[in-house]
C-alpha cells in the first residue's frame, strides 16, 4: 500500500487554522514528491464549536487510483499518524456529533505514531491515553497548547514543528526535502523552514507496547434502530431528579445516561468547600446544571455534566472558592466533595497549591499557558 493517512485532532475554531495548515502542507509537500493527496475536515464536526474536539485529515497516495481506493471510505478508519494539538485530549475525543469517548489513538495503525504537543512526559501522557492491542510510537513536541493562526494569537510555528516531526516518524508520507521546499514556497519564510528542520532533528518516537496506557474502557453506547426509536423526532425530557445520590437530603438533577462529558472541557472547577458561603450562584448560573447539592448544603460539581465554561468561577463572590484548573491535572471524573468529606486535610493540601499555581498563569478561552510564547521560545533556545 502506498497510501498514507494523517489525522489532526484539535480544538474546534481555536486550532482550526493550525490544523488546516498542517493537512494542506502535507498535501502540498507530497506533490513535490510526485504524489497526490487530499485534505478534509470531519464534516460532522462542523460548524465547529469553540474548543470542542474536531478532526482534519490528509491522505496521500502514489497514484490517483490508489487515492480513490483509500477514499472509498471517506472518513479514515485507520491512520499512520495521529496528531494531537492539545494534550488534554489524550483522555479521549468527544465530538459534538456525539460518538461517546473515542480514544485519541483509536485510529492509529499498528506501528503508527501518535504525535502530541505537550509539556508532559510520556509516562504522564500514558496515564490518560487508552491502551491498545498493538504497539505504536509516541512522539512529543515540547509545547503548550497553541492557538497559532487564530486571529490575534502569535504564529509560534507549531504547524511547522508538527510538519517536521511527521517527516521523521513517517518518512513514507513525504520526504523532509519536499516538505522544506513546500514550506519555503507556501510561506516564503526561512524561519519556518528551520523550525520544521529543527523539529525533524529533535523528534524521537518512544514505543508504546500493547496494553500500555490507561486501562479504562472508554464510554460508548448503542444507537437505536427505526423500529425502536420514538416517532415524531421526539426526545423525552429527563426526570426532574431527587435527593443527593438517591438519598432524602440535598438535590441532584436527573441526568442523561448517555450524554456525558469528558474531554469536551479544557478546564474544570476546583472548589474550596471550607470557604463556600452557600450563596447558590454557581448552582443557579451553571448552564449544564452540573452542580449537585450535598446533604450539608454545599455544591459539588459533577464532572459528567461539566463542559468547563467557567461561569461558576465568574459568578462566585468568594475569592478563590471556585477556580478553573487545566484538565491536564486530572485523570478521573471523581467527586471533589467525596474527597473533601473523606479527608479534609489531604484535600486542602492538594487543592490550595493547585489554585495558587493557576492564579499565576496566563489564561485564555479556558486554556492555560496560551500566549506564553516567551517561555516556550526560551526553552527552544536552550
Amino acid at each position: 500500500m502506498a497510501t498514507r493517512a494523517v489525522e489532526v485532532v484539535y480544538r474546534g475554531i481555536f486550532q482550526r487554522t493550525l490544523a488546516r495548515n498542517i493537512v494542506r502542507n502535507i498535501v502540498f509537500a507530497a506533490r513535490k514528491d510526485g504524489k497526490i493527496g487530499t485534505a478534509f475536515g470531519r464534516y460532522s464536526d462542523s460548524p465547529e464549536r469553540n474548543g470542542i474536539p474536531a478532526k482534519q485529515f490528509a491522505v496521500v497516495s502514489d497514484t490517483a487510483l490508489e487515492l480513490e481506493e483509500s477514499l472509498a471510505v471517506y472518513e479514515a478508519t485507520a491512520v499512520d499518524v495521529t496528531i494531537n494539538l492539545d494534550d488534554a485530549m489524550c483522555k479521549g475525543i468527544e465530538s459534538w456529533a456525539w460518538y461517546g469517548l473515542q480514544p485519541i489513538n483509536e485510529l492509529t495503525k499498528p506501528g503508527g505514531t501518535l504525535i502530541v504537543t505537550s509539556r508532559q512526559d510520556a509516562p504522564s501522557l500514558l496515564e490518560d491515553i487508552h491502551q491498545k492491542d498493538s504497539s505504536y510510537g509516541l512522539a512529543i513536541i515540547p509545547s503548550t497548547v497553541s492557538f497559532s493562526g487564530l486571529w490575534v494569537y502569535k504564529d509560534d510555528h507549531t504547524d511547522m514543528r508538527v510538519l517536521g516531526a511527521i517527516c521523521k516518524v513517517c518518512p513514507d508520507l513525504v520526504s523532509l526535502k519536499a516538505m522544506l521546499v513546500s514550506i519555503e514556497e507556501q510561506t516564503g519564510n526561512e524561519a519556518k523552514v528551520s523550525s520544521a528542520q529543527r523539529a525533524f532533528d529533535r523528534t524521537t518516537s518512544r514505543p508504546v507496547e500493547p496494553g500500555e496506557g490507561n486501562t479504562e474502557t472508554p464510554f460508548s453506547f448503542d444507537m437505536p434502530g427505526w423500529k425502536t426509536m420514538e416517532e415524531g423526532v421526539v426526545i423525552r425530557a429527563l426526570p426532574q431528579g431527587g435527593g443527593f445520590r438517591g438519598g432524602d437530603e440535598g438535590y441532584q438533577p436527573g441526568r442523561s445516561e448517555v450524554f456525558k462529558k469528558w474531554s469536551t472541557r479544557s478546564m474544570r472547577p476546583v472548589i474550596n468547600f471550607d470557604t463556600c458561603i452557600k450563596c447558590t450562584l454557581c448552582w443557579l448560573q451553571c448552564p449544564d446544571t452540573c452542580f449537585d447539592i450535598t446533604p450539608d448544603g454545599l455544591y459539588d460539581a459533577n464532572m459528567e455534566s461539566c463542559c468547563g465554561c467557567g461561569v461558576c468561577e465568574a459568578v462566585c463572590p468568594v475569592p478563590d472558592c471556585i477556580t478553573m484548573v487545566g484538565e491536564a491535572e486530572f485523570n478521573d471524573n471523581n467527586s471533589q466533595w467525596d474527597a473533601w468529606t473523606a479527608d479534609k486535610d489531604s484535600y486542602n493540601k492538594w487543592m490550595i497549591p493547585l489554585v495558587e499555581k493557576q492564579k499565576s498563569e496566563v489564561r485564555t478561552h479556558g486554556f492555560h499557558h496560551v500566549g506564553g510564547y516567551d517561555e516556550e521560545i526560551n526553552a527552544e533556545e536552550d
Partner: protein
C-alpha cells in the same frame, strides 16, 4: 461591468481546493457580475470563498448578501434580466425557501447559474447530503447536473454558463454538489487560465430580451388561460434544444481544456460487457468504482453508470447504455414517499426510461446514504448480489431496499 483585476489565473495552475472553492474560482474565471448569498451549510463554503477573492482584490463583482434565500434568488433573476452574468446558490431548506423565485427564474428564461450544496431537508436538523433538495426543480425548466469531483465542479460551472446563456436555450442551470464529500474536501484541481476561459466562454448577451432603457420591454405580465400553454411550450422547446447545445459546448470544452468524459450526460465505468450495472449520481461514484474494480477482479461482470445530467434527462443515452444489461441496480440518495414502488426519484425516472425497450433489464432500487451516511464498498457489493439473485431466480422479492438502515 465587473472585471478581474489581479494577476490571478493568468496561467494555468494547480490548486488544493474543495468543490465549493472550485466553483468560486469558476465564477472569477467567468467574470460573473453579480453574486447573491445567504448563509446555509454546506453551500456557504462557496460564499466564504468568493468573499475572500473579493477582499483580496482577485475578483471584482457586485456581492449582495440578501436577507433571505428568497431575495437572494429574486435579485439574480432581475440582474440576469438586465444582462448581468449571475451566480447564486443554497442548500436544503434554504433552497426551498427561495422556491417562488426559483420557479420564475426558469419561467422568464433567465440563465442564472446556481449551486445546490445538497443537504438533507430539516427537520430534524441535519447537514449531510440528500438529493431531494435539488431534485425539487426537476419539473421547472432548470438544467440539473450532479457533480462528482472538485475538478468537475470547476469545469461544469464554466460549461453551465455557456449552455444556459446560449440564445437557443436561456434556461437556468443548477449544479448539484454533495454536501461534505464534495463541498468540504480539498482535492488537487487544475485551474485554467483566463485566456483559455475567454476563448471558451463568450460574454452574456441577452439581445432584445435585455431589460434596458434603450430596449423598453415589460417582463412577466399577468397571463391566464389564453396564453400560458404557449409560454410553457416555448420553455419545453428550449429544454428540447438544450441537449444539442450541451454536446457542442462540451466538445468545445474538451478541445480547449483537454479534459472530460466522452459524454456530457453520463459516465460509463466498465459498462461495456456488464451484466449488472449500478446507477447513481454524484460522489457516490468513488466507493462504487472501487467496489466495481474489486468485483471485476473476482470475475464478476459489473459496471457503474453515473447519471450526470438529471435535466435534461439523457433517456436515449441511458437506453443505449443499460439496454444490454441483465440487471440494473439504481441507488437513490433521495426518497419519494408514497411513490409507485415506494422508491427513489432517480429509479422511477430510469424505469420509465426503460419501459419502451423490447428487452427490459431487471430493475431494483436501493435507498442509501441519506443524510450523509457513507455508502461503503461492502454496501455496493451487497446491492450487486441482491440484483444477481433477482436475475437468477427471475423473481423480484422487493423492489426497493433500504441499505444500512438500523432496524
Amino acid at each position: 461591468m465587473a472585471t478581474v483585476q489581479t494577476k490571478l489565473y493568468e496561467k494555468e495552475s494547480e490548486e488544493l481546493i474543495s468543490g465549493s472553492e472550485a466553483i468560486g474560482i469558476a465564477c472569477a474565471l467567468a467574470d460573473v457580475d453579480v453574486i447573491t448569498a445567504y448563509p446555509i451549510r454546506p453551500y456557504d463554503t462557496v460564499m466564504q470563498y468568493v468573499s475572500r477573492l473579493k477582499a483580496d482584490g482577485a475578483f471584482d463583482f457586485d456581492y449582495i448578501i440578501a436577507e433571505s434565500e428568497h431575495s437572494q434568488f429574486e435579485i439574480v433573476k432581475h440582474a440576469s434580466a438586465v444582462g448581468a452574468r449571475t451566480f447564486t446558490g443554497s442548500s436544503g431548506v434554504g433552497w426551498f425557501y427561495a422556491f417562488e423565485a426559483i420557479t420564475v427564474t426558469a419561467g422568464l428564461r433567465m440563465p442564472v447559474v446556481a449551486m445546490v450544496g445538497n443537504r438533507a431537508l430539516d427537520d430534524p436538523g441535519a447537514f449531510g447530503v440528500e438529493h431531494n433538495d435539488a431534485l425539487a426543480v426537476r419539473d421547472l425548466g432548470w438544467h440539473l447536473y450532479w457533480v462528482a469531483t472538485a475538478q468537475e465542479a470547476l469545469d461544469m460551472a464554466l460549461i453551465a454558463y455557456k449552455v444556459a446563456e446560449d440564445p437557443r436555450v436561456l434556461l437556468p442551470f443548477a449544479l448539484s454538489c454533495d454536501g461534505s464529500f464534495l463541498t468540504h474536501s480539498q482535492a488537487i484541481v487544475q485551474v485554467p487560465s483566463r485566456d483559455q476561459v475567454e476563448k471558451f466562454l463568450p460574454p452574456y448577451k441577452r439581445g432584445k430580451l435585455q431589460l434596458h432603457p434603450d430596449n423598453p420591454i415589460t417582463v412577466a405580465p399577468q397571463v391566464n388561460e389564453d396564453w400560458l400553454m404557449e409560454i410553457r411550450k416555448q420553455t419545453d422547446e428550449a429544454m428540447r434544444r438544450t441537449p444539442e447545445v450541451i454536446k457542442e459546448a462540451y466538445e468545445e470544452f474538451r478541445e480547449i481544456f483537454g479534459r472530460g468524459d466522452p459524454s456530457p450526460f453520463i459516465e460509463e465505468y466498465m459498462c461495456e460487457d456488464a451484466e449488472i450495472i449500478v446507477v447513481g449520481m454524484g460522489t457516490l461514484a468513488m466507493p462504487t468504482r472501487v467496489a466495481i474494480r474489486r468485483m471485476r477482479e473476482a470475475g464478476k461482470k459489473v459496471g457503474f453508470l453515473r447519471v450526470k445530467f438529471f435535466r435534461p434527462f439523457p433517456a436515449e443515452e441511458l437506453q443505449k447504455a443499460l439496454g444490454n444489461a441483465k440487471g440494473v441496480a439504481v441507488i437513490d440518495r433521495d426518497y419519494s414517499y408514497g411513490s409507485p414502488s415506494y422508491g427513489g426519484v432517480l429509479f422511477h425516472e430510469l424505469r420509465s426510461t426503460m419501459y419502451p425497450m423490447d428487452k427490459r433489464p431487471v430493475m431494483l432500487n436501493f435507498i442509501a446514504g441519506l443524510g450523509g451516511r457513507e455508502v461503503m464498498v461492502g454496501d455496493i457489493e451487497q446491492i450487486v448480489e441482491t440484483t444477481q439473485t433477482a436475475i437468477d431466480t427471475g423473481k423480484i422479492e422487493q423492489e426497493t431496499t433500504w441499505v444500512s438502515v438500523r432496524e
